[in-house]
């Protein structure tokens, strides 16, 4: 997770990417910790408010936001309104207080496990903090072959088989948006007649697409290759006066 100190939380909150959170509960927990109150005392209405604000403002900056975060925002809005309304009569459903309790429990439980996972991982670990060693030099050693292929290998291997079967069933060849040399040659032949004067190659290639550099590169390079191809066949002439200078072509009579 990104390092965020308490002070710069406000200024930096929109630079936080949702991708840093492991789901809505994790984000809620982060916001809750920021309230610096014991989780068992935390105000769920206030927390809901914070979460909803966060999501709304984030939404304005990045339109793409995972559905679960939005669903949680909607649910919190609903919970907040139920908590604020006068106490309802007993219905079949869970009361707003139950839902509040459940959410609080969920937060506390996740927090426990996040702490535990840190404790666990900070234990001295083999090959990171502590090491096996020893040497059997000077002793008689008999080797037994032990096949170490494990369940992971087995499952991975079976998955590869399943996957390759799936792929054969749905083999689709994608249409490439890149500009091909063939296409450039064909197009250039069509406009031959109009290039009787020396003309900058860049002026006769198709219009570049503003946003896509990869496709643009393919347009330029394919047209360049096409011009070489056509000059080799004696249809056009190509010249360049200096290194990296403009490339000119004209129709050869």
């Amino acid at each position: 997770m990104t390092k965020i100190s308490e002070e710069n939380f406000n200024s930096s909150k929109f630079h936080l990417l949702i991708a840093n959170f492991e789901g809505p509960i994790d984000l809620l927990l982060f916001l809750a910790r920021n309230q610096k109150v014991d989780l068992s005392q935390i105000s769920i209405t206030e927390l809901a408010e914070q979460y909803i604000n966060f999501i709304n403002q984030y939404k304005n900056i990045h339109i793409e936001i995972a559905a679960d975060y939005l669903v949680m925002a909607a649910w919190l809005t609903y919970l907040k309104s139920r908590l604020l309304l006068p106490k309802e009569e007993k219905t079949e459903e869970h009361s707003a207080e139950d839902l509040e309790k459940a959410l609080r429990y969920q937060l506390q439980r996740l927090e426990k496990f996040q702490k535990i996972s840190k404790t666990l991982y900070s234990r001295p670990l083999i090959n990171r903090d502590i090491f096996y060693g020893g040497s059997s030099e000077g002793l008689k050693v008999k080797y037994n072959i032990n096949y170490t292929s494990n369940l992971y290998d087995l499952l991975k291997s079976y998955s590869v088989i399943l996957k390759s079967k799936d792929q054969i069933k749905n083999l689709t060849i994608e249409y490439s948006e890149l500009y091909s040399v063939d296409r450039a040659v064909k197009r250039m032949k069509e406009i031959f007649g109009s290039i009787s004067e020396w003309t900058n190659l860049l002026n006769i290639i198709p219009k570049l697409i503003e946003s896509n550099r990869v496709i643009n590169k393919s347009i330029i390079s394919s047209n360049f290759v096409a011009s070489l191809e056509l000059s080799k066949n004696g249809f056009i002439e190509v010249k360049q006066q200096e290194t990296f200078g403009n490339i000119y072509i004209r129709y050869k009579n």
Binding site: G23, I25, D98, A102, L110, K112, F113, P124, L125, Y152
Partner: protein, 209 residues
């Protein structure tokens, strides 16, 4: 003079270079019924040394001492770092095993990122163990011997803060709302019928399916 069996144990444990089954040690020595005394003695002897004798699961091994870890980084095997998601998943499995995937999701409040389970299996820390007897018979996951060994635990009851966690009531695999309904039921013991209704209504929201 040091007892010959003790010397043998020392040599075997040293030369094996990895944990040795207690039973295999027993086979090598003469005074078999004293094995655990010998091991206890050895453990004590190496307690404050640069290498320590440790029991993990049913195996014994010499390993370098914890408090030297900063000075031994030369031996560190560079491994891919483990993600936060995988680590949370691991600790949930460790404390709540055996546990199904959707129970893990109950606790983490999010669908499992692809990669956690298979990554943990690849390291060799978890394994499938049995299926839960509910519709769909989902696989349950447990930790392995290798997990115990790598984390230097005697056994699973040796997990840090396990008792405390249990006492606090957070070792519960159900969706949060299900735990609340239980409390509510204890309060005013009505509708005893659907004690295990962990599905339906609010979970759909909380779990972000």
């Amino acid at each position: 003079m040091v007892n010959k069996d003790i010397k043998l144990l020392e040599a075997i444990l040293f030369a094996s270079g990895e944990p040795v089954l207690e039973n295999d040690l027993k086979e090598k020595i003469k005074d078999k019924k004293n094995l655990s005394n010998f091991l206890k003695e050895l453990k004590e002897f190496y307690k404050d040394r640069g290498i320590n004798l440790l029991k993990t699961g049913n195996k014994w091994s010499f390993r370098t001492s914890d408090d030297l870890s900063n000075d031994l980084t030369i031996f560190k095997v560079q491994k891919r770092k483990i993600s936060r998601a995988a680590l949370e998943t691991l600790s949930i499995i460790a404390y709540q095993q055996p546990i199904t995937r959707s129970e893990i999701e109950n606790i983490r409040g999010v669908q499992m990122g692809r990669g956690s389970i298979d990554h943990l299996m690849e390291i060799g820390w978890i394994k499938p163990s049995g299926r839960k007897n509910i519709p769909g018979k989902p696989t349950m996951w447990s930790t392995t011997e290798l997990f115990i060994e790598h984390f230097g635990l005697n056994d699973l009851s040796d997990l840090p803060n396990k008792e405390e966690l249990k006492a606090s009531g957070f070792l519960d695999k159900r969706a949060a709302i299900a735990t609340i309904s239980d409390l509510a039921k204890n309060d005013d013991n009505n509708n005893l019928d659907n004690l295990d209704s962990e599905d339906n209504n609010i979970d759909d929201f909380i779990q972000s399916n």
